[in-house]
């Protein structure tokens, strides 16, 4: 290869096309910025988790279980000889502030010992944490509780049968981040007052936590020796390492989903740049033919433009890294409630390398086909322009390019996606969306060609004809702008539908009050209590805690000991189930296999029938007729699977994985959950206040609180998605500018010629405005229709909710897209309009000879 020639030519080409290349670079850089920005955020969070995980866990080892630890477990712990131990008993309860009379479901943490052993709990007033265990009936609370209950430090907080003084607020505690505390703010009290509150009874939902400080050298071997036994005893272990992994994994999954939106922007940019590069390369055919006739070899020519592609890719990658810096500032602020740690953002070499690799990859995808075309340009074209006008690479080469393009898109999707199947689905979805947009653009061009208005004014005919004439940019513009609008509008529509459904759920006669931990002897009095206050009891379901003792005669412990089981199966075998019993099937349930029971049977000397939820049945590999042994608080209940149900979990109803007939569980220790409806918000607040006095152990959750919490969380995530979608829209606009720039010389020549031939300025302006408007309408129309279709499919099939479209928002979005597209499109050749016919003639000659 002639290196000197290649370098010199590449430098000169870059000089002449730098504006166009800058636009191409910008198209790709925006998508790269999103992908590497999230990559950097993920790396930063992982780094912060690694640094802070010991403080976030507050100990070296944490044990959690749904029941007080058994003697065997305590003996094993004693053998570990921890330096320090601390316990927390955690449960949900209602809290009442006496002065304001306001109540709220809270997350009670009853603490004993020196937790946390690492890090510090920051309180206001300061140093109140250390005094909590010694002080008389004091409570520390999350700041949100004070706001929600209109309380202040010094107020009395009623928990069950005990009154605590609010001694301060907890500003910072290990492992706390906003989302959890929105539904149930935390209240910290000393464990010695727990019995006094009367809140923990048989059947109450309680989590028992034990924190240990242990030298790492002792912890490792102890874990290896005891992990399985503790697993069998349903004790969940968490070490600093596993905590790190859990935190990083859950955050990584979220950012990877967001990263897919970035990848969509990058795909869009790549598609746009690819079409721009094709035009650029087509314009180079003559120059390449001349170079070839002067003695340049095909590989020299390919090397010149490959070098340009590499420069473009690297520059786009670096620009993407620079553009991601503002994202690194915006994202933590947008997602503060879902970030597990405080992060100090930094740009790592790996991030920069990722950006450059993405840039190079995307450019390779854009340039591969056009480079093949360039290598096939015949030198004879320098003599005869009619020969080799459309240099086309051999068919085999084209097929290879298509395969490479498809595979690289697929590889990028799978690399970015949280799971390979998600990546595959995403790539397929993207291909379908792009395919539909491209097909729509082609179809529209064909329809216009056949049915173009023949009697309309000249400017109108000419403007519309520009959409289907040779070298039109209908396809790239429709795909780029349509795709950007499609992304933004479909995301917005899905969010709107989900929120609309939730708002509907919280209105009408649907349940808006959930009461749980209702003891059997409280069921009748509670009904009366609710009725007195105008609340309507809609559903009541008994809850019986049970564990899976054996499946088809094989004990769960045995299976758990048996070796490598999938994580989900381990969880299903080990978890505590909340069983219920009833005679009838609910509206939210459908039998998919077997039959519901006949309530007249008393099942004496028979196996108890059990109905399993279909996903759980699948996970446990259960079919009709399989035997299950349940351990119901020390008593074994033998059952046989007689039906499998599909459950609509989206409904605010008492849904269960496992249901048995009343005869099976009526006598078991149990509590109940009650769903009620009370329309008036003030009356609901008053009911909850009175509830604390009359039924201190019963907790109530106002559905509007859940709605607000979910709304706030969705708003955070959807804002993040919208920011990304805006980047996509930015890519679309950059592509539009690039497309306009690519077609500029063509349009310029036409406009100049028209001016010379006598067209008035206003005619030229009208032609260009018509073209831009028609193009904008097509892109915005196809994009919005496609977004509605995609949103409907997502809402209907994935969320299984009724579809609701935000028509006004969509109209504004579509019109704005149309307007911007039309404006940018008509800017392309404004110079031609500004020239006098004399100057136009000169310029026309110049363009005629040097348009390449």
């Amino acid at each position: 290869m002639n290196g000197r020639f290649v370098l010199a030519m590449a430098r000169r080409e870059l000089r002449s096309a730098r504006r166009r290349f800058a636009l191409y670079g910008a198209c790709m850089a925006i998508g790269i910025a999103v992908v590497v920005g999230l990559h950097a955020l993920r790396a930063t969070v992982r780094h912060a988790v690694d640094l802070q995980s010991q403080e976030m866990l507050g100990a070296d080892l944490r044990l959690s279980s749904r029941a007080p630890l058994e003697d065997d477990v305590l003996a094993r712990l004693a053998a570990l000889a921890p330096g320090e131990t601390s316990t927390i008993t955690r449960f949900g309860s209602m809290a009442l502030v006496e002065r304001t009379g306001r109540t709220r479901l809270v997350d009670v943490h009853a603490i004993e010992g020196g937790y946390p052993f690492y890090g510090a709990i920051v309180t206001h007033p300061p140093e109140r944490w250390r005094e909590l265990s010694t002080a008389r009936r004091e409570a520390l609370v999350d700041p949100s509780l004070l706001i929600q209950l209109d309380a202040r430090v010094g107020d009395t907080l009623v928990l069950g049968e005990t009154r605590f003084e609010i001694a301060g607020e907890v500003r910072k505690a290990p492992g706390s981040f906003g989302l959890r505390t929105q539904v149930a703010p935390r209240v910290f009290v000393a464990q010695r007052y727990l019995a006094e509150t009367g809140l923990v009874r048989l059947g109450s939902l309680v989590e028992y936590l034990r924190y240990l400080k242990v030298p790492l050298a002792r912890l490792g071997p102890w874990l290896a020796a005891n992990e399985q036994a503790l697993d069998g005893a349903r004790v969940r272990l968490q070490t600093v390492a596993s905590y790190q992994e859990d935190m990083s994994r859950s955050f990584a999954a979220l950012t990877r989903y967001l990263g897919l939106v970035g990848l969509a922007a990058l795909a869009l940019g790549t598609v746009g740049v690819a079409s721009g590069v094709r035009v650029f390369v087509r314009e180079k055919f003559d120059a390449v033919a001349v170079l070839r006739s002067l003695g340049a070899r095909p590989r020299d020519v390919v090397a010149v433009y490959s070098l340009l592609a590499v420069a473009l890719g690297a520059a786009a990658g670096l620009l993407g890294v620079v553009l991601c810096i503002p994202l690194l500032w915006i994202f933590p602020a947008l997602m503060q409630d879902v970030l597990p740690v405080e992060v100090a953002l930094r740009l790592e070499p790996a991030t920069i390398a990722t950006g450059v690799i993405l840039g190079l990859g995307a450019t390779a995808v854009c340039a591969l086909g056009p480079l093949l075309d360039l290598s096939a340009v015949s030198p004879l074209r320098a003599l005869r322009r009619d020969l080799g006008t459309d240099a086309s690479a051999p068919r085999r080469g084209r097929t290879l390019v298509l395969v490479v393009l498809g595979l690289s898109g697929l590889a990028a999707s799978i690399w970015q996606a949280p799971r390979w199947d998600v990546g595959l689905g995403f790539a397929a979805g993207l291909a379908v969306a792009l395919g539909v947009l491209a097909a729509s653009a082609r179809l529209a061009a064909q329809v216009l060609r056949r049915h173009a208005p023949r009697r309309a004014a000249y400017w109108l005919r000419q403007g519309i004809a520009n959409l289907f004439r040779p070298r039109n940019h209908t396809l790239p513009t429709t795909v780029a702008i349509g795709f950007a609008l499609f992304l933004v509008a479909s995301l917005h529509t899905v969010q709107y539908s989900v929120l609309a459904q939730m708002a509907l759920d919280s209105s009408g006669v649907r349940p808006n009050l959930v009461l749980f931990d209702v003891q059997p002897d409280q069921v009748q009095p509670l009904d009366a209590f609710l009725a007195e206050r105008g609340a309507r009891t809609l559903e009541r379901a008994p809850l019986v805690s049970a564990r899976l003792g054996a499946l088809r005669g094989v004990a769960s412990e045995e299976r758990l000991r048996g070796g490598d089981l999938p994580r989900e199966l381990r969880w299903a075998l080990r978890r505590e189930y909340q069983l219920t019993y009833r005679s009838e099937l609910r509206d939210s349930e459908t039998i998919v296999a077997g039959q519901w029971w006949d309530d007249s049977d008393d099942y004496t000397d028979q196996l108890m029938p059990v109905s399993m939820e279909d996903d759980l049945a699948h996970r446990l590999d259960l079919v009709l007729g399989d035997r299950i042994t349940w351990q119901v608080q020390g008593v074994e209940v033998e059952s046989v699977v007689t039906s499998i149900r599909k459950v609509d979990w989206g409904r605010l109803a008492t849904n269960f994985f496992v249901v048995m007939p009343p005869a099976a569980l009526e006598q078991a220790p149990q509590s109940a959950v009650v769903l009620a409806h009370l329309a008036d918000a003030d009356a609901r607040a008053a009911l909850q206040r009175d509830l604390v006095g009359e039924f201190p152990n019963v907790s109530a959750l106002d559905a509007s609180v859940i709605l607000r919490a979910v709304d706030a969380t969705m708003a955070q995530v959807s804002t993040a998605i919208r920011v990304l979608a805006l980047f996509t829209l930015g890519t679309g606009l950059a592509i539009l500018l690039a497309a306009a720039s690519a077609a500029r010389s063509e349009r310029m020549r036409e406009a100049l010629l028209l001016r010379v031939l006598g067209a008035s300025l206003s005619t030229v302006r009208r032609i260009q405005a018509t073209e831009a408007l028609a193009l904008g309408s097509l892109a915005a129309g196809v994009g919005s229709v496609l977004s509605l279709a995609a949103a409907w499919a997502l809402v209907h099939f994935l969320f299984e909710l009724p579809f609701a479209a935000p028509w006004l928002d969509l109209s504004v979005l579509t019109l704005a897209t149309l307007g911007i597209t039309a404006l940018l499109g008509s800017l392309g050749s404004r110079h031609a309009r500004e020239l006098s016919p004399q100057a136009a003639l000169r310029a026309s000659e110049r363009f005629g000879t040097g348009a390449a």
């Binding site: 170079l291 002067l294 003695g295 095909p298 320098a382 003599l383 040097g850």
Partner: protein, 231 residues
């Protein structure tokens, strides 16, 4: 210098069916330093013949020896190298690279020379400037083609054609896109440069005036040599 035997070129129509014979069994020899003009009406096969003689295309039948080298024995790269080292071109439509300045256009053939034969960059630039000065464009070296008149563009084309000191120069209607006076000037320059450097020159044209300055005129008609005359 050039020996062509039974040169035949056929093209099949894109729609299929019959093939089109553009050139049929042409035999031609051009001696070193000779100036040969190929004359003929449009469609007579002049440009095809030029393309085949210069190695820009492969004949359907027949062969060409250029400066003692059999073109049929060379692959695409080999023919490109031969052109870079021994051949120069002047085109009817000038064919300057629009993104390069006049100087850079003239530099291209020097940069394409293989290592060992390519002059140092400073030497190459000096030679390109000299050539541009020779064609009267010393003040237009940094101008782009779009900033030059047709006559000026063809002068740059001439400077570029002689830059690599070719042994054979092919000119395709070199004055075809120029007015009479400018065409005269360009033709004068072409012949002067040719004389100075002793280059073999093959010109394709239908300009009779230009043909009178050749040492031999080859008349082409319907893809065959009708006659050869000396002016």
């Amino acid at each position: 210098m050039i020996v062509a035997r039974n040169l035949t070129q056929r093209y099949s129509r894109p729609s299929g069916g019959e093939t089109l014979t553009v050139l049929g069994g042409v035999d031609l020899e051009v001696a070193s330093g000779e100036v040969v003009v190929v004359l003929g009406p449009s469609g007579s096969g002049k440009t095809t013949l030029l393309g085949l003689l210069a190695g820009l295309d492969r004949p359907t039948e027949g062969d060409v020896r250029l400066d003692g080298i059999e073109l049929a024995g060379l692959d695409e790269d080999g023919r490109a190298q031969l052109r870079a080292e021994r051949v120069g071109f002047v085109f009817q439509t000038f064919q300057l690279v629009p993104t390069l300045t006049a100087l850079e256009n003239v530099l291209v053939p020097l940069e394409l020379l293989p290592r060992g034969r390519a002059p140092e960059p400073a030497v190459a630039e000096l030679r390109a400037r000299e050539l541009l000065g020779r064609v009267g464009l010393e003040r237009r070296t940094d101008h782009y083609p779009a900033e030059l008149s047709g006559g000026e563009q063809q002068r740059v084309g001439l400077a570029r054609a002689f830059a690599n000191e070719p042994r054979i120069l092919f000119a395709d209607e070199p004055t075809g896109n120029l007015d009479r006076a400018t065409g005269h000037e360009v033709a004068d320059l072409l012949f002067e440069l040719n004389r100075e450097r002793g280059t073999t020159l093959v010109i394709v044209t239908h300009d009779l005036e230009l043909s009178q300055r050749a040492s031999r005129i080859v008349h082409l008609s319907a893809g065959r040599i009708a006659r050869i005359e000396q002016p």
